[in-house]
Symmetry: C2
Subunit: 158 residues, 2 copies
DNA sequence: ATTAAACCCGAGCGACGCAGTTGGTTTTTG
DNA sequence: CAAAAACCAACTGCGTCGCTCGGGTTTAAT
């Protein structure tokens, strides 16, 4: 789960696409002007989105893009995974097993990053394009009441 | 919340520091060899950690670093916020109000990224160094049972 | 058939931040 | 004093990101 501005652009474009969905498909140049994103850059993003099966294209004049599935069945996590390639295995993260299993004490943090990735994916896959459009954010997560630590103070974070 | 490998290194080093805490302070060169991180790079990270009040330094031979607070009172989120400077306000993210409020329709995704940031911070601030050491991960988050969407299927995501 | 609108593709570029290096200076212990 | 450590500042490869450029190819309107 990469989480760069590239993925953000893709989500912005997909939300725009879902918003202006009508009988006619939506052209990329329309999205480009509305969202102020470079047309060629959009083309690159949508090429990936199409390969991932998230959108369908209609060629020729009056053509454009349509959501492959409904806006309620397209999750934000899918968009980001389609656009950002799946990270380059820094140090020990993922990469299967090698290099990390060797010295367990060195990778105490491994579980932490893995669990963080899970949390992010869990959240993003709980939000659909329709949710964003209607500003109905997040089937809310609540903290387990049996949690040992986690003081609610949290005075840090500017 | 930046979430780069820089922050990961910082957390790795802090976990190492917490693990080897004794009467004597821990020198950076010890951490450097154990965690295989460049010494000078560690110095830069710990300069920030010190300014953030997360560690205390002892100068001279036999000197090194100590946790400012206990390992149970140092949260992972604090470490990451200390080393990664607070993001560069891409497009509309944060930056107060300007450029985003103008055209509301353009920033439908704004709430989404904000909520995602909240989720990440919430998770990372629920984990202390002690939790990582003892592999007691995450005062677990559970999904609210009243959630409307969020099918548990989630067949996507390679 | 012509033309224009739209998608498709690949090479390349400027800027930025990360990871690391060099080369010092202070401080403190022995 | 000499050695060990924290401190400090500047600089440098290098990769990636966001984006441009310049071509295509396919389709539909006329």
């Amino acid at each position: 789960m990469k989480l760069s501005t590239k993925g953000r652009y893709a989500v912005m474009a997909m939300v725009d696409l879902a918003r202006h969905a009508q009988a006619k498909p939506v052209s990329l140049s329309d999205i480009a002007t509305r969202q102020e994103i470079s047309l060629s850059y959009l083309e690159q993003l949508f090429a990936r989105l199409r390969r991932a099966g998230l959108v369908k294209s209609v060629r020729g004049p009056g053509g454009g893009y349509r959501l492959a599935r409904g806006s309620a069945d397209t999750r934000v996590s899918e968009i980001i995974l389609a656009v950002d390639e799946p990270i380059s295995a820094t140090r020990c993260t993922e990469m299967g097993a090698t290099g990390c299993r060797a010295d367990r004490s060195k990778c105490l943090t491994h579980d932490l990053w893995e669990e963080l990735g899970n949390q992010i994916h869990l959240f993003l896959s709980s939000v659909t394009l329709l949710d964003v459009l209607e500003r109905k954010l997040a089937p809310r997560f609540i903290e387990a009441p049996s949690a040992a630590n986690a003081e609610p103070s949290m005075a840090a974070a500017s």
